[in-house]
Amino acid sequence: MSSNGSPSQIAEGTEQAEDRQKAANAAPQLQDVLRHTCPSPAGPRVLSTFRNILDRDSCDLVWVTKEWRPQQVTLHARTRTTAKIRQDVISSPKMQHTIEQLSSQNEVPKEALWRELNDILIEMGHTQTMPVVRWFGYVLSKIMRKIYSGVFVNEESIARLRASIGNNPVIFMPSHRSYADFLLMSYVCFHYNIMLPVIAAGMDFVSMWGVGRLLRDSGAFFIRRSFGNDKLYWAAFSEYVQTLITAGENPIEFFVEGTRSRTAKSLCPKLGLLSVALEPYLTGQVSDIVVVPINISYDRTLEETLYSYELLGVPKPKESTSGLFKALNVLDEQYGRIHIDFTEPISVNKFFGDLRSPKLMRPLHLPHQITPDESTRIIWLANYVVRQQQKNAVISLFSLAAVVITHHVLTKPRNQLLNMHQLTRQVASLKSAAESFGALIDCRDNLEVSLQNALHIHKSLIVTSKDGQVQVKNVAAAQAPIDPAKMKGHSLQDKTLQVGVPMVMLQHYVNQTLHLFICPAIVSLSVQQSINQGSGMKDDVFARYLFLRTLLSHEFILHKAWETMDFEQSIQQLQKLGVLDESLHDSMKLSLGSNSHLHQILCQLLLPFLAGYSSACSTMLEVPAGKTVSLNEALKSTQARLEKLLLSAQLNHHYSLSLDLLTAAVNSLSSMGAVIKNKENGKVLYSPNSNRLRQVTQIVGDFLQLVAPICRKSQDEQARLFITQAKARL
């Protein structure tokens, strides 16, 4: 361990530490609330409660033309036309107040502002119409039958949902991995006769000819991606959302992650829309809001290739209708199953405790400002929602296979190809580990058959030769040459992309499992390092664990309030699995157990992250004192540095190149105080905080070394050749 400071010292004394303290203060109370309000489901989740809704008695035509008598969200709701909703927004006291203020502040005539507001609302508004929904549902049925082998919905969760709606506004918060999420949610609601959600969508689609209209008619409303200081827009948007909440005609649906996660990991929740949506509760306009986190798990993500390119910095094509048609070739492929689970509905009133009363002294037309207490709870709720989404995932066997395959590619010499037998064995052991971490694995038949089916779905990425050898396929070749000027990051060499794209695609599926493994992995690595340093004491381990957790808090959902709970749980699980030794009597001292293979796999999972973060540190360290860099510059030079490492075989995991990962790294360094964030003329610039950054770099480096030897052992000159030469058969 470096003498510059222990991980715990680094973790403390930062902005984050203060926040954690705050969260810790709030924690006991909230823990209490959580225990009472969100009991864990009665039994373990099982696949048998999931039903394939494509597999139904009636034909699609009968299905889409069925009588539409949905279960109402709230009994008091009255159905409003689009024009009426717009009228309600415009005439709301809050909107009137805003217009008056803006008019007098900016000396703009009110009429101009009314007109502008009207335009904003027309641009924003949804126009849900059942004929379109039905027609669209018919087409979707046909498409889904073609590309999916089933859309499985947890019917127990549907029953639970039905029981908890009827009195209060409902917010659906699905995980967001694919554009298909939009359509699926409405499709499922239609199937189960639940009022169709109104969906908050980004403006990206509006420009797509026909598609914007189609989505609007299906119930999407559109929010600009950024509207800076446009107060009128902000007021219009929040009033629009709030009128939907208070009227309670439809469930509101939005993605708390803010955007599609390109990495298949959950993104850190965004709080803006959630805060706006909760305002009617906080100000006492509704007595409760029911939040329903929803997990949508895909066997294979439609956008998998696209995402890989995007993460490496190859620009994403702008959404266009012609692009959509081009993308229709995805219809020729198989994408396996989808699993949808509506998790335990959360009563915001019970979750928050009643916070309404202090606000009752303010008139409703004044904008509400979130108090620190509310802010703490909203952050908590947002994180809880994402965790619920994760906990209720259905993990595909392919994800586990991806972990095994990646581990193999990284650690074994070229001539040792993975065969089906080994793969099955290793997946089996990983499966039982995952299950002990609470995962529900999609394995309906015996493991071997299920695994083969799972691999078959991904045959464009993984090929199994006749002799049972499993290999990664190069998928990168078919793309058109990339204009270097358009690269978002560093202009990567062609050969880097050749290996990088499939590796990042593979990591996409590895990532699907990481919410299960991340805490145990961090604990494992911390234990190992602590033991190597001659300690192994629990509090020493905890300090190291805290550092890694803080470091990775922009990468994974590691809410501060849960750090102790997660730590204790991970230790228990790891002891059961034999990764940690259970037999020792001294409960304050930890040591490694017999299951070194799982320990290796777990630690290895952190490699791309630690490698990426370490490089980001080095890059920032090179910024001369007093100079600043933009995020983009930082990303570019870190990617360049990583590419060098990859080419010189000092690193062999291409996922470190991921721009998402590196962005998280910079943000994390910033919130740890190792990098200072400055705003100049609206541009965000970063400069190193040299002392702290050096400490962090040192500690990250120490951790990385522990992970790196596993691959370095098998790393010789050949290894580099293995990846680059084998591009055709990788």
Partner: protein, 626 residues
């Protein structure tokens, strides 16, 4: 313009939520920070207002030797081109030995105080605290003097004769509720006296400092807390800081198309907090309510913490209404910082009317009938004969044609209709509402006047009578120059005792004057408010001091007023309708509210303010028991 402080949230982000949190921390509970109101009266009030009398420095009533009467500024447009005719002049000379044509009596007050103000008592720790909180204050003599008095006759005479024994030692100007909390906490910690100061228009000696007080006295001037924090049109309420004065309040509210409708005579200078703490009444209370009807919510800072109800609902049944401990507390329990009041839309139409009745009794009977039918317009007042005649000094100067017309009118009134000039009385009415409403109200009132021999005297007379109210206090100051001491006092009384009370009090005063050898005096009264169960009666008593010096005259005045008050109470009236108790009427309080009532107040005081920080000495003299 500051874009973050105006209640908007910028687009969603974690950072923004954090930013909000710190912002709120800084500004306490006052989350919204609307712009500061532009106060009509500056912070240094004496730069705009008279130091020794009522109203603006630039505004004095002048009567020239030819009988022309006017005010020296344009602030009161209705006070232009008045003419005191011979008959009024003679009547006044006869009654009050006051010759308005005698210009030599006209004295214009000196602009700067000619008085030695004692050195302030300074509590160093308190002052250090004040400085550390960055709260504005002043120890200058004129600032202190200005806040050491109200507008009681005693105050004015003392100012004019340079006999003010004790004034506050420092004037502080909190800018918001939180500042007040800090000041009150500091004062409690360091045992310093606080006397809240609003507009300084009381007539009850409420601001007079106790000469025996050895602690530092802080005058807490709320004038810089004058924002309208919000206007809620959905519920027709407005949240205002307590220091806003009446005219500023109406101006700010009118920007939102609403008004409070609270119009006490002192409306130009008195403050919202002052109204609440004295249980004020406005001229248009029939339509808009008295202050206790207007108040929805009060924020009250006391030495033992902040008291406020947690509800904006229109009514609560939750035991005694503790707002009523604040209403009328006269600065003895704490500081009112923010008040949520009801507001009404600015009326479409405002109209006036006046009616002449042959005798006072007819007028009272008419008023009673109006109250019975609950047909009262926004304002309705009955002016007795003496006041009607005194009001004749306000007659417009008329051209020859006007004079002739006037004479014809008078001839008709006196000779044909048979209304004796020394008996008739006048009713003045103000109507507000939409056209239809006003029309209906007017028709209804007209109908009722006929029953009591009332004659329509036109809306111009009504308008004049109503708006002249604002100049009465100026006249009072002018009278002093002519050797006439004048003061008002008021009461409320059940209907069946109203006329008798008016008569008896006048008789009593007359008797008392005679006993003291006062040859020139006049008492008039008006019935200014109608209620279901009674009315408010307002007396003016004036006498010429003759050879008495001011202090002797003041003593005599006080003696007579005391006897008059005894008579008021004996006739079924009470201690005060809206002026309050202050230090002037404490004597009658036990009798009025029962000794147990006084003890109850003492217990409240003891609990809220055990150190007697709010030691203005109003209501009950705490020294006698502490």
């Amino acid at each position: 313009m500051d874009t973050t402080g105006h209640g908007y949230e910028s687009p969603p982000s974690v950072m923004r939520i954090k930013a909000c949190a710190s912002q709120e921390k800084n500004s306490g509970n006052s989350i919204i920070t609307p712009e500061r109101t532009v106060n009509t009266i500056p912070k240094k009030k004496q730069t705009a207002l008279k130091w020794s009398g009522w109203g603006y420095n630039d505004t004095i009533v002048v009567c020239e030797s030819n009988g022309n009467l006017y005010m020296t500024s344009d602030r009161y447009p209705h006070m232009k081109n008045k003419h005191v005719n011979q008959s009024v002049r003679l009547w006044l000379r006869d009654k009050l030995n006051m010759d308005l044509y005698d210009e030599s009596k006209m004295v214009r007050s000196p602009v700067t105080p000619q008085m030695e103000i004692s050195k302030p008592i300074v509590n160093e720790d308190f002052m250090k605290g004040l400085q550390s909180h960055n709260i504005s204050y002043s120890m200058e003599s004129d600032d202190r003097l200005f806040r050491g008095h109200g507008h009681t006759l005693d105050d004015i005479i003392h100012l004019r004769t340079g006999k003010i024994e004790r004034v506050p030692d420092v004037v502080v100007w909190p800018g918001c509720h939180d500042d007040v909390v800090k000041i009150v906490n500091l004062a409690t910690e360091h045992n310093v006296v606080i006397i809240p100061f609003g507009g300084g228009t009381n007539v009850t000696l409420a601001l007079t400092c106790d000469p025996e007080e050895k602690r530092m006295i802080v005058s807490l001037d709320t004038s810089q807390m004058s924002r309208v924090l919000w206007v809620d049109k959905a519920n027709m309420t407005a949240c205002c800081e307590s220091g806003i004065i009446g005219q500023d309040l109406e101006r700010e509210l009118s920007k939102h198309g609403v008004m409070s409708g609270h119009e006490p005579d002192s409306q130009e200078f008195s403050s919202l907090g002052g109204w609440v703490s004295t249980r004020a009444s406005g001229m248009k209370k029939n339509q808009y309510g008295n202050i206790e009807d207007l108040v929805v919510h009060i924020r009250f800072v006391t030495p033992s913490g902040v008291m406020e109800k947690q509800s904006l609902g229109p009514r609560i049944s939750s035991g005694p209404d503790f707002n009523h401990i604040i209403l009328g507390s006269e600065g003895t329990l704490g500081v009112i910082t923010e008040v949520i009041i009801k507001v009404r839309p600015v009326p479409e139409v405002r109209d006036f009317a006046s009616y002449v009745f042959p005798e006072f009794q007819y007028g009272v009977d008419f008023m009673r009938e109006v109250a019975l039918k609950r047909a009262q317009p926004a304002s309705l007042r009955l002016i007795d004969n003496e006041q009607y005649r005194m009001g004749q000094i306000y007659k417009d100067s008329l051209g020859i044609f006007g004079s002739i017309l006037d004479s014809i009118k008078m001839f008709y009134l006196h000779s044909i209709a048979g209304y004796a000039e020394d008996k008739l009385c006048v009713v003045i009415a103000v109507f507000e509402g939409d056209k239809m409403d006003v029309h209906l109200q007017k028709t209804r009132i007209k109908k009722m006047t006929e029953k009591y021999r009332g004659l329509d005297a036109g809306n111009e007379n009504g308008k004049r009578g109503y708006t002249l109210t604002f100049s009465i206090a100026y006249i009072r100051d002018a009278c002093i120059d002519y050797g006439v001491l004048a003061e008002s006092f008021e009461t409320s009384v059940p209907w069946d005792r109203c006329a008798n009370l008016c008569r008896s009090v006048k008789n009593t005063i007359s008797r008392e004057c005679k006993a003291r050898g006062i040859t020139h005096h006049e008492t008039s009264c008006r019935v200014t408010q109608v209620y279901d169960a009674g009315a408010c009666v307002y007396f003016y008593f004036a006498f010429h001091r003759g050879i008495m010096d001011f202090h002797k005259a003041l003593k005599v005045y006080d003696e007579i007023e005391e006897v008059a008050r005894d008579e008021v109470i004996a006739c079924g009236g009470n201690i005060s309708h809206h002026h309050g108790i202050g230090k002037k009427r404490q004597k009658w309080l036990p009798k009025q509210v029962s000794p147990l009532g006084v003890n109850l107040y003492r217990a409240v005081k003891q609990h809220i303010d055990p150190k007697n920080i709010f030691a203005s000495g109003n209501l009950v003299d705490m020294k006698s028991s502490l």
